[in-house]
Point group: C2
Chain length 331, copies 2
DNA sequence: TTGAAAGCGCTACCAA
DNA sequence: TTGGTAGCGCTTTCAA
């Protein structure tokens, strides 16, 4: 900036005025300064600028399990949409369901002084974020609650959604309804299992441990688990899949079974091609973009100074009936 | 920091040493300083720090059409994976195929002084990025070339891939092969159309304008276009879909047609459930995660000082035969 | 309309 | 092992 001032034969302050488009600069001077800026390829140093005037937040951090999972990228999009007109941008990171990695990413983001944090948490302790929260950075948890920390959280109605899905299967005559899911340490899994049990109990059905296969981290494991379920004697007549990955795996396992022997299937999470499969897949659906939007809205309110105790928001689900969930049990 | 120094009764410099975990600080002093830091909730000001020592880039900007599209979120993931051990994070933005929005995002990123830019471009002029490039910020274009700017670019082998896909249909006896695609202004679309034409010519088949439906922005438009093609007399016996959205639309249109009358289908871009549909979908595949990885690698090399003229890298495709592309034409 | 000087919070350099 | 001082590039305040 000093160089520009020298070249344009004006003072530092005048250059500053031009750069910041302030008033009180004559046309001629302004043009001369512009020319000098061009000539030198000058660009204002944002750090020095930030040092003087306290400018608002420029970035929001977002840590999910995996950006490339459509569920999380939809959330990302929802957040982007909301913060867009505040000129905020989103920095993303994938934890791969690894608590240490999550912490690493979160600390990297804090170090970079993001204006707010959005987290689909995975770790078993988020107390390390307390100081960030204390310093005024808003933090919103998405889809799962934080551990050892009080913060805003957005949930899906996991229990209610699973309950509705399983009740739907029961209503279609199924008495042996299996469940395939991730490890029970994952909040959404345990909640959905809870919904499953509630639905069974409400129908007066017992809980059969052998019909529950947890611990499936990916669709391959889910496929395997589903095959094992099919091999049971007697096999389940219906399967409840706890999330989209699990549903994909279950679908692969089921695709080999003749239609009239095929167990009914209801999956938690909707997915793009669900209607095109045969039979089309009945799912417990909700809009992940909306989940992101709500989270962003919440963080924006905090950014605008909303104080008060941590809030919890629940996004409700909807059963989308397409066919796979209405298959009757074999006679 | 001055406050901390005062509270701990040490000099500013000593506090600085503790904060930066430098040597030459006695245990006792260090502990005292730590305590003062805790007490005051002190956090180092990154801007002031950056002002003094020239610390490397901390962020990379990524602008795509839409983060929530699995294709782009896979690219995002590939980039993340590569830059992860350099402690670089990725800031994302969605242009929605809008040139003005793209420019807005890119300028926002430049203003924020990201260490590098990755762009799946949409606009028709990227000359405004020349100054950023001149100042030393590496820029890598992904999937499509920039306009009015010379920069590193990573491509898919669009022509070769489309050619292989269409040749495959022809090899299965099809003479009336339709094409459904986005607007021809999209680089990948025009290239794929080129591959389509080359394959037809190589087979000695004429180019029939009425079998080409361009301008489909989304899967709904593609569904409609496919229906129109099916209504032709005589209808095409095979369809080549230019990208994943188009394939989804075509699938919806085709799903109502009885199997023995159904045209063969080959899609460009693989997708998760392609193998589960009936018939399973034959596609021209490549790994979008790899695309992101390569782009990140390129930008990292530039970050490490690699100079030299802009580079172009081509990622090759692979025909994945699953069934839909091998349906014979009706006798 | 323009400019001089102070100082934001930190680190580099040299001295003690 | 410690501390003082200069100065990074900018904006702010006040004076011309």
């Amino acid at each position: 900036m000093a160089d520009v001032a020298k070249l344009a034969s004006v003072s530092l302050k005048t250059v500053s005025r031009v750069v910041n488009e302030e008033d009180n600069v004559s046309r001629v001077t302004a043009v001369a300064v512009q020319k000098a800026i061009q000539a030198l390829g000058y660009r204002r140093n944002e750090h020095a600028r930030a040092l003087r005037q306290e400018l608002g937040p420029r970035m929001l951090g977002l840590v999910t399990k995996d950006v490339s999972n459509p569920f999380y990228s939809a959330i990302t999009r929802g957040i982007e949409d909301v913060v867009r007109d505040r000129s905020l941008m989103v920095v993303t990171g994938s934890s791969d369901e690894d608590g240490a990695r999550e912490r690493e990413l979160l600390e990297l983001l804090c170090e970079r002084r993001v204006g707010g944090l959005l987290v689909v948490p995975t770790g078993s302790d988020h107390s390390f974020l307390a100081s960030e929260l204390a310093v005024g950075t808003p933090i919103v948890f998405i889809d799962r609650p934080p551990c050892n920390l009080a913060a805003d959280t957005i949930f899906i109605d996991n229990v209610g959604g699973a309950q509705a899905g399983v009740a739907h299967l029961v209503a279609h005559g199924h008495r042996r309804v299996a469940l395939v899911g991730d490890i029970p340490e994952v909040f959404t899994t345990s909640e959905r299992v809870r919904g499953y049990r509630l639905a069974l109990r409400a129908a007066g059905l017992g809980f059969d441990e052998s019909l529950v296969r947890l611990g499936c981290h990916d669709s391959t494991a889910a496929e395997q688990a589903t095959r094992e379920l099919l091999a049971l004697r007697p096999p389940p007549t219906a399967v409840f899949a706890c999330n989209n990955r699990i549903t994909y795996g279950a679908l692969r396992a089921l695709s080999g079974v003749p239609l009239r022997e095929r167990p009914a299937l209801v999956g938690f999470d909707d997915f793009e091609l669900a209607a095109l499969l045969s039979p089309p897949v009945t799912v417990v659906a909700y809009d992940p973009v909306e989940l992101g939007r709500q989270a962003a809205q919440l963080i924006c309110e905090r950014l605008d100074g909303a104080s008060g105790p941590p809030r919890q928001i629940v996004v409700f689900t909807e059963l989308v009936v397409r066919g796979s969930g209405e298959l009757p049990p074999p006679a």
